[in-house]
């Protein structure tokens, strides 16, 4: 006699975070309104509830922010590295102390499950600041010459999939190396960056070292085009990245781009199969698949295709989709109506092109933006869903026969950000990894991040590295 073990709702309390009805731009250490007083709303993707109103920065506001950063650069870059490190350590500790608040905030604004913000995003944010704090007084030992100089003012534009983590990836190395920053968070997820502005004040960071300008693509365009910016760092779509590269062509500005991906997760027939299933799940369903390095193409050796798919489908039926604040939720909401429409269109196209669609049976909430975990079998290299980045919880399953074929198919993409290799044979891991053109390769795991490890892409996935010693180079005059 078996009875169902239904988990009762276990929501994280919203009371730990106090969201103001409106937020201004954070320029020169103060919150100010936009020059023309314009605002936009940010909503919770899981309920479509309006969380707050945020100022929409104009060109004039961006100009003010860059001027503040320029002014602050003189004193900030002249500080001894050990002094800059103190601020970064302080920021890291405050992030840790306020991690629950920030996790709830991020979940509300982004739609991702609290399990992920609590156990992945926030610990990594703090770790990133701690890590680069450690570099601040050791730059002469980083391999970039005896006295590497900062670049000046960094204009940074970040995406909505890991709002606070991408902020950390951008701001921590920039400050450690002595640059000052103007950062533009994504239009749909501005809140955690504004809370970070408050953390900068709490840490006593000198005015103008960090400036946050909120807005849409136009604000971002104004920032990267601003003549006072010495360095542009962008994480986001390949289309926008190309546009930025065109804008910057012929200028003195240094550029790093971290763009899209279509990661191949390669499962050989001698893989640890239960762990491979877990890795496939975390590869494509972590953060609802809205991850640039997602393992969105499953390349499975044909001899174990049926067995693996059966196990994978059984596993997907145990995923819990729903209220992102519930501690037992595995799959949260899609970040925006726009993104949901894109995922839906690409999935429909996959079906129209003849791939076989399967979704885990689950009930989608009536409000908010939701997409059930989906996989496509019978996908070939010719299908759109095998080539285009979907940026959603949609897995394309392809097969291969030999290691050479696996490598050829994995590399047959304009992107080159991530890949995974699943086999119990160590020599095969090394042999295959050497042939893959991807910036990050995981073996027998997926979507593992660490501040010490450089991250970045080949080909249309961008250039430049973030994280590790390599991540310093992007912010040094070398």
């Amino acid at each position: 006699m078996a009875s169902a073990f239904e988990y009762a709702p276990a929501p994280e309390s919203r009371a730990v975070v106090d969201i103001a009805p409106s937020y201004g731009l954070f320029i020169d250490g103060e919150f100010t309104e936009a020059a023309d007083g314009k605002v936009f709303k940010t909503v919770s993707p899981s309920s479509e509830e309006v969380l707050s109103e945020v100022a929409e920065a104009t060109e004039a506001d961006v100009d003010r922010a860059v001027a503040a950063a320029r002014k602050a650069f003189e004193t900030w870059s002249a500080l001894p590295g050990a002094e800059r490190a103190k601020y970064l350590f302080r920021i890291a500790r405050i992030v840790q102390e306020r991690s629950r608040e920030l996790a709830v905030l991020e979940t509300l604004d982004n739609g991702k499950p609290i399990k992920e913000t609590r156990d992945a995003d926030l610990p990594l944010v703090a770790a990133h600041f701690f890590y680069y704090a450690g570099w601040a007084d050791k730059l002469e030992h980083a391999g970039f010459g005896p006295a590497p100089r900062p670049l000046g003012v960094a204009g940074q534009v970040i995406p909505w999939n890991f709002p606070l983590l991408m902020l950390a990836w951008k701001i921590a190395p920039a400050l450690a190396t002595g640059n000052t920053v103007v950062l533009k968070p994504a239009e749909t997820t501005p809140l955690s960056a504004l809370f970070f502005a408050d953390i900068c004040r709490q840490a006593g960071l000198p005015k103008g070292v960090v400036n946050i300008v909120t807005g849409d693509g136009r604000t971002g365009a104004a920032l990267v085009a601003h003549p006072g910016v010495d360095k542009v760092a962008f994480t986001g779509s390949t289309a926008v990245g190309k546009e930025i590269a065109r804008t910057l062509a012929g200028t003195r500005k240094k550029l790093t781009l971290e763009l899209g991906g279509k990661g191949a997760n390669i499962v050989f027939d001698d893989a640890p199969i239960d762990q491979a299933v877990e890795g496939i799940v975390s590869g494509i369903f972590f953060n609802q698949g809205q991850v640039c390095c997602a393992g969105s193409r499953l390349l499975v050796q044909e001899s174990i295709h049926d067995e693996l798919l059966d196990r994978l489908k059984r596993r997907l039926t145990t995923l819990r989709l729903g209220d992102p604040l519930d501690k037992n939720t595995d799959i949260g909401a899609i970040n925006s109506a726009e993104q949901l429409a894109r995922i839906t269109a690409l999935a429909d196209q996959g079906e129209a092109e003849g791939a076989e669609r399967w979704s885990a049976p689950c009930e989608l909430p009536s409000a908010g933006y939701w997409f059930a975990p989906t996989l496509f079998t019978g996908v070939t290299q010719a299908h759109t869903i095998a080539r285009d980045e979907i940026f959603g919880p949609v897995l394309s399953v392809l097969t291969f026969r030999t290691p050479d074929e696996a490598v050829a198919k994995a590399n047959n993409t304009p992107y080159g950000l991530s890949a995974g290799i699943w086999t119990e044979k160590g020599s095969r891991i090394l042999a295959v990894a050497n042939k893959l053109r991807a910036g990050v390769i995981w073996s027998n795991t997926f979507n593992k991040f660490d501040p010490t490890s450089p991250f970045g892409g080949y080909k249309e996935s961008g250039f430049g590295r973030e994280g590790g010693r390599h991540g310093l180079e992007a912010y040094l005059d070398v």
């Binding site: 009875s3 988990y7 009762a8 709702p9 893989a271 640890p272 501690k327 791939a355 070939t380």
Partner: protein
């Protein structure tokens, strides 16, 4: 089970069902009737030392990091309110209340039996435990103590805990326990033989014990996972035990440094899940040793729920081998009922 979506154009014509690789390997096994495990269900696999070895070493490998990460991730499930009440009662009903000490006396075993039948004297709604677990010579005392209650009597046997005795001695041990009325026998495998690669010896020993248990007693096979050491070994031992006719596979004796862990239990749950999918035979799982708190027990129930599935959420298919766990479960149960924290003075010591 899920509907199986066949592979598309890549599929070789005329190929395979769900478990391609295994289905071929287990062609005969699948067609066996479910309740004759004493006779080998897989003569081709167990025909010789080499076929058995080839089979066990052909099982998919286990990635230790991934397995432990999955077990830890399931450990973060938050079980509250109604789910907690359900899980606490379920956990109590799954306890094999155990005393396995040289100092065990009839008085101690009687006290344990009384506690198993009615764990919370102040609250009759608390369920009875699944069984009491004792040494073979204490089986008659235990039987009497739980008579008429539905609580089973489990007896360890086969020269527990080391298992270092001749097969004749081990079988005599089992027969005595069964003759005294044991409903369940918890045997230990010969870890020495397993680690020496003598899988067939281990297999034959389990099969012989199963035969000695007859139809009256269910057989739990203890692997002593802490001594097998690697996850690959634990997976192989699990299959070996199930092929030889185990009704339950059990982690440990509780007598070594590393006993039940979330990871080794998760691995064994995967094994029974896969075994049933391929043979139709359902086998139970019993983690034993080291599970002391209600919080830990709930994590194990989450492992069961999300790995083997709801069919195993029953004392017939999942047990906790424990002694101190029961009191913590009872205190948590009291807390949930009254809203106040209970204390050790409000549960019985024995």
């Amino acid at each position: 089970m899920l509907p199986i979506v066949p592979d598309g154009s890549d599929s070789a014509p005329g190929s395979r069902g769900v478990y391609s690789r295994y289905a071929r390997r287990y062609a005969r096994l699948v067609t066996m009737p479910t309740h004759t495990p004493a006779a080998s269900p897989v003569p081709d696999v167990t025909a010789s030392e080499s076929t058995l070895r080839r089979f066990l070493h052909g099982l998919p490998g286990v990635d230790a990091v991934g397995l432990e990460a999955r077990a830890a991730a399931l450990g973060t499930r938050s079980i509250k309110t109604t789910a907690k009440a359900y899980a606490l009662d379920l956990a109590i009903s799954m306890v094999d209340l155990t005393t396995l000490e040289g100092a065990d006396t009839p008085g101690k075993v009687r006290a344990l039996g009384a506690k198993a039948v009615r764990p919370d004297p102040a609250d009759r709604t608390a369920p009875a435990t699944a069984a009491v677990c004792v040494y073979p010579d204490m089986v008659p005392v235990a039987k009497e103590a739980v008579a008429g209650s539905g609580v089973k009597v489990a007896s360890v046997a086969t020269a527990f805990p080391a298992g270092r005795a001749s097969l004749a001695v081990k079988l005599a041990d089992v027969r005595e326990a069964v003759a005294a009325g044991a409903d369940e026998v918890d045997m230990v495998i010969d870890r020495g033989a397993f680690l020496a690669g003598k899988y067939l010896k281990v297999y034959e020993e389990i099969a012989a014990v199963k035969e000695a248990c007859g139809t009256d007693a269910r057989l739990k096979v203890i692997f002593e996972t802490g001594e097998l050491s690697t996850y690959d070994n634990i997976r192989r031992a699990s299959w070996l035990g199930m092929l030889a006719g185990a009704d339950f596979i059990k982690t440990s004796t509780g007598k070594v440094a590393v006993n039940a862990t979330p990871a080794n239990t998760l691995l064994m749950l995967e094994a029974v899940r896969d075994f049933r999918a391929q043979t139709g035979i359902q086998v139970g799982v019993k983690p034993a040793g080291g599970i002391r708190t209600a919080k830990d027990a709930l994590k194990f129930l989450v492992l069961v729920n999300e790995t083997a599935g709801a069919d195993w959420l029953d004392s017939h298919w999942f047990r906790f081998g424990a002694s101190s766990l029961l009191n913590d479960l009872l205190m948590q149960r009291q807390k949930l009922a009254t809203g106040r924290y209970s204390g050790p003075d409000y549960v019985t010591v024995d």
